[in-house]
Structures are given as structure tokens and as C-alpha cells.
Amino acid sequence: MINYILIPFLSLILIVFQTMVSDIVLFGKIGVELSLILVIYLGFRLDIIRGGVLSLIIGFLRDCITFSISGLSTLLYVIIFLISLLASYRISPEKSVFIMIFTLICALFEGMIIALFYPLLYGQGVSPHTLLYYIPQALIVSGLSPVLFRAFNRVEVVLNGRDAWPVKRA
């Protein structure tokens, strides 16, 4: 139960951190969505109930802090979690290249969904400039994913011990 309080809190710190990094270090020119990697990680590590609830919470937290369209991030993170969950049957989180490719696909998918939802919610399309913004962002997130996967794994070990939240499937 403690994980349902601790992980959202750590996620909140992560989201605030990534927002600040984007704001201060990268001058708001590019976003580094570390929380997306966390959701993918959850998809690979947890079962549908735990992972799903946590993804929902992380999405909601991100919505509260950064997203102008509240709820969109929650929906996206739930979908990405479910996709990761399905992918986890085929891809091993130990293989960095697969993780990078999968993260890149998820980040591009996220950008695409936002671009699709934007006109539906605001009545106007997203400029090509904004669409191009997602490509380097997806590449950066993809590049960081193996490192972050290991880091999240270390945190998991510290919090629960390696087998406390075992991989869903052997």
C-alpha cells in the first residue's frame, strides 16, 4: 500500500524535476519527458491493476502540473501503459536497443495523439513547427530510456527489494 503513496510522490518530484530541467536548463525549447519512461517501465514491471492505477495517477499528476488539456495526459499514459504491458510479453527490458526503439515509438505516438486531439479540443490545428518539436524530444527520451530503466530498477530494489514487485511474467 505504501507504494501507492510513495511512488506517486516520487513521480511528482520527477515531473517537477523534468519541468524545471526543460524550463531552466533547456530554456523551454525542448521537453524531456522522463515520466513517460516511468510509465513504460511500469508497463514492463507491474501487473495491470497496480501499473494501471499508478499510470493513471502519474498521468493525472502530469496533467495538473504541465498539461493545458487536463485529462489528456492521463488518457495517454494509461494507453501507453497498456501498450507497454502488451509489449512486455515480447520485449525484454534487459535489452537496451529494444527499449530505446519502443520508447521512441511511444513518444512519437504520444506526440501524434496530442496533434490529433488538439483540433478536437481547441478547434484549430497544431502548427508543423510544434509537430517538429516532438521528434527531437522523442529521440532524447528514447536515448535516455535504458539509463532510466536501470535507475528505476535501483529505486525499486531500494523500496521493495528486487522481488517485492516481481516481473509479472517470468
Partner: protein, 275 residues
């Protein structure tokens, strides 16, 4: 379990998506509503954001101040050069400003004295020797000649004793060979003002029966014909009647500070005015 295990995952997935869609539609319908949970998250995030911002700023500051010093030496050198240039410029401006102030005073003097005047710059001074003189940058080609009186804004400086084409020599009134016909302004007693050393003059031939007080103003009498009447010379510094002679010993402190003279005015008197 409420649902068959076979469909459990699908049902949970659908539930999660439905909850997300409900949140989204609620937010779209009421975009400005903050809500309790949203407010709670924002309130929690604010101090965290503050801590992270402060940490980043500290790191950024440390990086810029202590680590990222590439090009600092060059910049320092450039700034030093710039600073030297600015100081030089400031000195020049200050000098011009002070000169302006001095010239303004001389101009005021020109308006007070009803004689044509020529301004000149002091180009050399010789006050260490026995003869106290200064050189000015105007001469006969500018209409100057020997015996013309020279003034500063505070009062009489002396008279021209030599004049070449572009330079004139001024004998200062503190020189012992300088004699000016003067009078005490308060009681109109007349005497001869003679130079008496580096910073003083003495007013001679004043009878002991006359009353002269310390602080009395001494002006030119206009009698000798060299200096027009009423020009300020100095003030009485000391009066001594104890001497055995017929006259008092009166020391006069000139108003002009001869060591700081930079510009002077020469009164261009006609021969007729002098007479």
C-alpha cells in the same frame, strides 16, 4: 472476483480508459475548475519546484562563477582596457568642465570691468626664483603690450613686463619689484602696494595716524595710470604700528592664488585710458 479471470485484464483496461475519458471530458467541459485533487497536487508541487529551482540556480551560479571560466581572462583584459579608456575620457571631460567653470568666472569678470579684455592661458610659471613671473600665450600679435594689467576672476594678477609676438611675461604683484598704487576700500587711505614674498604684499606709506584694520579690502586706486580704479587686490592680513618709522607696516594677502592660475584676462587699455 466479479468478472471471469479470462476477461479481467480487458475489463480493467477498459475501466482505466473510461476513467481517463471521464476526466478528459470533465476537464474539457469545465476547463477553469481546479478541483480538490488538482489543487492538492499543485500545492504539493510548488515547494518542490521552488527547491529544484533554487538548486538549479545555485548550480548554475557555481558553474558560471567557478567552473565555466573559459574566455574570462580575455574578457578581463578587454574590460581593463575599456576601463582605462573610460577613466581617461572621464578625466578629459572633468578637465573640460573645470575649464568651462573657470572661463565662466573670467567672462563674468569681463562683464564687470568696462574695458576690452583678452583671455589668455598661462603656459609657464616661475615663482620659485626671486622674480615672480608667469608666461601667457598671447602677445603683441593679439594686441597686447608692456604694462597692460592682468586680472584673474579673484582680482589683480600683475602686469605685462615683456611682450613678444605670441607670448607675454607677467610680473606678479607679489614680486618685490612690483608696485601698484592702491587704496583701502573702507576709509579710502592711499598707499603703494609692493610685492613681499611668495604669498603676500605690503601696503606702504600709510601714516600711523590712519586707522587700518585687519580684513580691510585693498583695491587699485587708478592713480598710476597702469591699473584702472577699483580692481580687487587683496585684504589686510596684519597691521603693525610698533615700528619706529613714520608709517605703519601693513601686510596684504592677495585674493589671487598665484600657484593655481590657469587662465587670465588682460585689460587692453588705450594710451589715453592710462593717462
Amino acid at each position: 472476483m466479479l468478472f471471469p479471470k479470462k476477461y479481467q485484464s480487458i475489463i480493467i483496461a477498459c475501466l482505466l480508459i473510461i476513467i481517463s475519458l471521464i476526466l478528459l471530458s470533465y476537464s474539457v467541459r469545465k476547463p477553469s475548475t481546479v478541483g480538490f485533487f488538482r489543487g492538492l497536487v499543485l500545492e504539493t508541487a510548488a515547494p518542490l519546484a521552488n527547491i529544484i529551482t533554487v538548486s538549479f540556480e545555485g548550480l548554475n551560479s557555481a558553474w558560471n562563477r567557478y567552473i565555466f571560466l573559459v574566455g574570462l581572462e580575455g574578457e578581463n583584459e578587454r574590460l581593463k582596457k575599456g576601463n582605462a579608456l573610460l577613466i581617461q575620457e572621464t578625466i578629459q571631460y572633468r578637465e573640460a568642465y573645470l575649464e568651462g567653470l573657470r572661463l565662466q568666472k573670467l567672462l563674468a569678470l569681463k562683464e564687470k570691468v568696462n574695458y576690452p579684455m583678452i583671455a589668455a592661458r598661462v603656459i609657464a610659471r616661475d615663482q620659485t626664483s626671486i622674480i615672480k613671473t608667469i608666461l601667457i600665450n598671447k602677445g603683441t600679435s593679439h594686441g597686447l603690450r608692456v604694462d597692460l594689467p592682468v586680472l584673474a576672476d579673484q582680482g589683480v594678477v600683475g602686469r605685462i613686463v615683456e611682450a613678444s609676438s605670441h607670448v607675454s611675461k607677467i610680473l606678479l604683484l607679489i614680486d618685490e619689484s612690483s608696485n601698484i598704487d592702491a587704496l583701502v576700500q573702507e576709509n579710502r587711505i592711499q598707499g603703494i602696494l609692493q610685492g613681499a614674498g611668495p604669498h603676500s604684499c605690503s601696503l606702504k606709506y600709510i601714516s600711523k595716524t590712519e586707522t587700518v584694520n585687519v580684513g580691510n579690502i585693498v583695491i587699485s586706486s587708478g592713480l598710476s595710470g597702469l591699473f584702472p580704479k577699483g580692481l580687487l587686490i587683496g585684504s589686510v592680513k596684519s597691521v603693525d604700528k610698533t615700528d619706529n618709522g613714520l608709517f605703519q607696516k601693513i601686510d596684504v594677502a592677495p585674493f589671487v592664488d598665484f600657484s593655481r592660475l590657469e587662465e587670465v584676462m588682460v585689460i587692453v587699455l588705450n594710451k589715453d585710458d592710462e593717462g
